[in-house]
Symmetry: C3
Subunit: 160 residues, 3 copies
């Protein structure tokens, strides 16, 4: 068959606001070009997919500590540079709004509407004690083998 | 046609001295192998392409603040690790000179001489209020669509 | 010949524990899929391949300083986020052990057993004054040209 779609994969390892924005801008761009796009979130990147409210799930003490220390969802992320105790993210959000750029939650919604596959790394979830109910709707769970299956057939593979 | 050139693309998201050096070493290496190379600078990476002198352009207050807080050009960049209030970059520059390694400005000049395409991300420029006159000569401006067009035809695509 | 192996390359630029773990998990996964895998360690990433004991080699003062300031081997690495003066790495190692996940030294051993090629960047070694005897057994030394040779034939190329 000739009409296979081009593929793009992004490993989102970082939980920084700026890097998550970059990842979703690239993903949305690729989806607009009709690529099949996967964002595989691992380590800190998984935090981007967390719901912003606390979800009542049973956890051990260490898992609770991780859950408490790590940001819940796109609204709580820090910048990789110039974070300045939270002033940096506020400034970035402010200029994005001023210039009518989509916010990270909007970029994420658009990605899901365009069919971008959002994947949570099962190993990270186990290690950090994050459960499926704590993630936003529509997230698939998979491991590195599934990522490599996608990436081997993709032209553009990025680690962010 | 058989004789199409191989392509390499680098998204330079980081504005760290060490990562910028890595990006330009890879870019120069790929250009030496006769690849068509694009470095797409976005977010903090755009600072690498800024002129080191202030350029008189009209800006709002927030844009002025960003312009003032972010490093102007390769001479002002920090290290991603062991920056130690600027001592790290000095040490790195010192050992590079001692070992006759090209400095970042020299690597950038070489890249331009070899035809490496340096691109500034238009969205970043709008958000951070950076204008074309503030960037070094020879920089093209483009968005994520242009990047994806290049990357879809490239064998090596890196996010740095 | 049709039956050429698929190739995967990883530039490990970072010397952070979490990123090194990610690199070796991906490398081991790709090797399990019978890819030919190369991890090219450069800049801080080279520290991952250092032996944990001091090796008596002759060095200049600056090289000694670098050698002393940078972590020696996988046991000494910091986290890219939430390092908390070393408490973060301890917590991560603790949960990995608790969940029977392989530690970084074990992941590295497995990679070598599976034939993953570990490469130390010659230019980094020269700049930071690190000598071959200071690296673990089985590491090849090469430059950016060798990396590009591998990457041009690989489907998955990541910069970590």
């Amino acid at each position: 068959m000739e009409n296979q779609k081009e593929k793009t994969t992004i490993i989102l390892f970082s939980g920084d606001l700026d890097k998550a924005i970059a990842a979703f801008i690239i993903a949305n761009g690729a989806a607009a070009f009709d690529h099949e796009v996967t964002i595989f979130t691992t380590f800190w990147g998984l935090n981007v997919l967390r719901r912003d409210q606390q979800v009542p799930v049973k956890k051990g003490l260490l898992e609770k500590a991780f859950g408490w220390m790590m940001p819940r969802g796109p609204g709580k992320l820090a910048l990789s540079k110039m974070n300045m105790a939270g002033m940096g993210p506020k400034m970035i959000k402010h200029v994005m709004k001023k210039h009518n750029a989509l916010s990270l939650p909007q970029l994420m919604e658009m990605a899901q509407e365009q069919g971008v596959k959002l994947v949570g790394c099962t190993m990270t979830m186990e290690l950090l004690g994050i459960q499926k109910e704590e993630l936003i709707d529509g997230v698939e769970l998979a491991g590195v083998a599934a990522y490599l299956g996608d990436a081997s057939n993709a032209k553009v593979n990025l680690f962010i």
